[in-house]
Structures are given as structure tokens and as C-alpha cells.
Amino acid sequence: MEMPALPGERLGALVLNANGHAFDSRTGTSYRFNPPAQVALLMLQDGKSRQAIIETLADLCDQPEAAVEGGVDHLVDQLARYLA
């Protein structure tokens, strides 16, 4: 499955702190990311693929990939909306 394209520059403008607070330095908007979403965001900013993110989270959270991929897709959809 293909991920919706996320604008690289806009994704890079999100600054994540250790508590899951992400600040968009371009728009001044703030977001909250739960722990799995924090991992996914950092991997997205590193240019990692959807499958790589799913595999990593499945391993970290000790969950089947089928359970994880819905969450990853939902996160990416949200990011695509907010960063548009």
C-alpha cells in the first residue's frame, strides 16, 4: 500500500521533544504524539518506508503487523491533512 505523499520540508519543520510535544516551527502549531507515533514521526522524517515503520512498531510494541498498520496509516493521513 502506498502512503500519501508528505511534504518533506513541512515534515522537517516538526520539532519533537522527549515528552511527545511537537512544534511546527513554520506555522507555530503544536501537536501531541503518543509514544508509538513519536517513533513513527522520527522514522518518517528519516525517510523510512511504511513497511519499515510497521515492522519497527510491531517489534517495539510486541503486536502483530496487522494491528499496527491501521494506526500507522491513520497517523500518516492525519499528518497529510495537517501539513497540507
Binding site: E9, A13, V15, F23, S25, R26, T27, G28
Partner: protein, 370 residues
């Protein structure tokens, strides 16, 4: 009048500021400019507050200004302004003046030469630069700078609002004064009311601009006349007063806004402080809404992000080059939140101001923070 020595460092300059009102819905920038200078390391000059109304807070706030003085309204003209300034400066000499209000700038521009002969430093735009960013001339400036802007026109007849839809001017629209105030209007009745209000408060012309929906993002910086933009600070409004002024805002780092600012500074060859107000519309396009020819009321955020632009202005006036200014890298995420507080003013202070036109208490130096 004896010219002031130019050998003192700017941190020892006495500086006069205008715009020291603190109206909650639309405060002037002067008190915030004063705070910026007070926060400047090693600044030990006197701040002389210049106001147009007896209830302008900066006249009495000793943490802002060491003394306060009334000026004649701008409508009385440049000669009256110079005469009053000479009166004030006899007892409160200054090395620089920072005008902070739109309506007074033409008068200060007119007497700039006379003030410089008196040894007073100013960094003001030329009259034609000031005119180029007038609200009714924004489309021409925006075209020259390659920046989008919503259409705007001058109105002389409120009947425009009855048939504007047929001419492609659909509601909502924005009714604006030439210098101050702007209201979003949704009907002919509302538009006519605001139009009459503008005429009563500010006179003609009254302007109408097409409404753009989006987040307002603003940029302030200094210009030295070369076309360079110096020390830019960008902000997105987060909380607004009823007049659309920022009550809270966050520093941002928006490359598009930065580039638009650079093009506008280059097109204007601006001298002095400037504020650029833009909106990012629903299509993601930056639209130029207004250019204000002075520091904005939120200028204290500039100190908060390590780019104290009022201090930088004095340094430029003292001869520093832009590259020598102490300006931190952009710090997006720093937020300002405005609050109102009451000052207690005695009857004697009010009476003294009313009779003499000046307020300066013996407690001035004692109350000013070191």
C-alpha cells in the same frame, strides 16, 4: 541649539518614544519599545515618553519612561510638533527619537532635518517610501515585489456597499481606515455603519479590501535604506482582541514569509522599523494585507527571541553595520502573552500633566529597575 556629542555610545543615549498608550484592545508600541531598551544589557539612558492623551499609560509608568510629555495632535502640523519638541528637549535632551505611530510619521519626516541639526538621530523612511506602502497603493507595491495581495479601493460614497456584489466585491469585506482600524463586515447595513464610524473617527479616505480567510502571520524587521531586511522576527497570532490585534502569539520560522519580506524590503528600500502583515489563505498562498511603518505592538517578542530590534535600531543609528548587530538565530516556539495591569496615578500627577504638559516624578529614578 548646541548639537549633542556623537561620541557617547548608544547605550548611554537618551531616547524619546511615542505611542506610549496602553489601550487593551489596541495598544501602541511605545511601552513595548521602552521595555526592550530597558532589557538591553548596559543600556543606561533616559527614556522620554511622548504622548497625545493624558491617559496614555506610559506617561506615568516609570518602569517604561523616566518622564512623560504631551504632544500636539498630528493634525496641528510639523511646525507645532517641532516647537513642542524644542520645549521638551530644553529640560529633557535626547540623542534619538523613535516614532511609533503611523499618523505622526509625516510630521517627523518633515522635521527630520531640523532634528538632526539639533543632534538628534532618527531612522525614518522617505516620504515617497511611506506613500508606497499606503493601504490604497498596496497592489502596486505587491506587484513590484512579486507578492499576492487582495484587491483594495478607496471609497467616497457608502452607497458602494449596496451594489458591490454586482461589481465582484462579495461579502464579507474589510472596511479600513487609512491609518487605523479594520472591520470585517458581512452586510451592507454593517458596512455602512462601519464606514460612518471610520469617517467620524479618522476622516477620509475609507478603504474597502476583499476579505481573505486564513492565519495571520506577521514579520517585523529594520531597514537601512539599502533594501536589506535586518533582524527579521516572524510571529503567528494565537489569540486576538475584538479589533484583531494579537493578545498572544508565537514566533515562527516561515521561509515563504521570509522571502516575501525580503522582496518587500528590497522594493521599498525601507529606512527604519517595519511590520508586514500577511495571511496564508486556504490555498496556501501568502497574501499581503498591510504594511505598518513602525515597530508593532508585539515588538517585545523580538527581545524574547534574542533579536532586540529597538536596541539594534539605536546601534544602527550609532553607525553599526548590520553584520555587527547582536542578533540571535531564529527561535520559533517562543510565545508572548499580553496582560493588562492597573497603575495608580495620583491627582497631583494628573493635574501636573494637565497644567504643564509634562509628568516626571522625583521617584522616577528610584522606581526604575536597574
Amino acid at each position: 541649539m548646541i548639537a549633542r556629542s556623537r561620541q557617547r555610545h548608544w547605550t548611554a543615549w537618551n531616547v524619546a518614544l511615542t505611542g506610549i498608550n496602553a489601550r487593551p484592545d489596541n495598544p501602541g508600541p511605545g511601552c513595548a519599545v521602552a521595555r526592550c531598551l530597558r532589557q538591553t544589557t548596559a543600556f543606561r539612558g533616559q527614556l522620554v515618553g511622548l504622548a497625545y492623551a493624558a491617559l496614555d499609560a506610559g506617561l506615568y509608568l516609570r518602569e517604561s519612561c523616566d518622564s512623560g510629555h504631551l504632544l500636539p495632535y498630528p493634525a496641528t502640523g510639523a511646525a507645532a510638533l517641532l516647537e513642542r519638541l524644542d520645549e521638551i528637549l530644553r529640560d529633557h535632551p535626547v540623542d534619538a527619537i523613535v516614532p511609533c505611530l503611523d499618523a505622526e510619521l509625516p510630521n517627523f519626516i518633515a522635521i527630520e532635518g531640523a532634528l538632526e541639526q539639533r543632534g538628534i538621530h532618527l531612522l525614518l523612511p522617505r516620504r515617497r517610501q511611506l506613500r508606497r506602502r499606503d493601504k490604497d497603493r498596496l497592489p502596486a507595491l505587491a506587484a513590484a515585489a512579486g507578492v499576492a495581495t487582495p484587491p483594495v479601493q478607496c471609497l467616497g460614497d457608502e452607497r458602494f456597499f449596496d451594489h458591490c456584489g454586482a461589481d465582484g466585491w462579495d461579502y464579507p469585506l474589510v472596511v479600513k481606515g487609512a491609518c487605523y482600524d479594520a472591520y470585517v463586515v458581512h452586510s451592507a447595513q454593517e458596512a455602512r455603519q462601519r464606514y460612518r464610524q471610520m469617517v467620524a473617527n479618522w476622516g477620509y479616505p475609507v478603504l474597502v479590501q476583499k476579505f481573505v480567510h486564513g492565519d495571520e502571520i506577521n514579520l517585523t524587521a529594520l531597514g537601512d535604506g539599502s533594501g536589506t531586511m535586518i533582524g527579521e522576527v516572524m510571529m503567528r497570532k494565537q489569540a486576538l482582541t475584538d479589533k484583531g490585534k494579537a493578545w498572544a502569539g508565537v514566533a515562527i520560522d516561515d521561509r515563504q514569509l521570509l522571502e516575501a519580506g525580503r522582496r518587500l524590503f528590497d522594493a521599498l528600500k525601507w529606512r527604519g522599523p517595519l511590520e508586514i502583515e500577511m495571511l496564508r489563505d486556504d490555498a496556501g498562498t501568502l497574501q499581503l494585507i498591510e504594511i505598518n511603518p513602525r515597530f508593532p505592538a508585539w515588538i517585545y517578542l523580538a527581545h524574547g527571541v534574542g533579536r532586540n530590534l529597538p536596541a539594534a535600531l539605536l546601534a544602527l543609528l550609532h553607525g553599526a553595520r548590520p553584520g555587527q548587530l547582536e542578533l540571535a538565530p531564529p527561535r520559533p516556539g517562543i510565545t508572548f502573552i499580553r496582560h493588562a495591569q492597573e497603575s495608580i496615578v495620583t491627582l497631583d500627577e494628573i493635574a501636573n500633566l494637565a497644567v504643564s504638559g509634562s509628568s516626571s516624578g522625583s521617584h522616577a529614578l528610584a522606581s526604575r529597575a536597574a
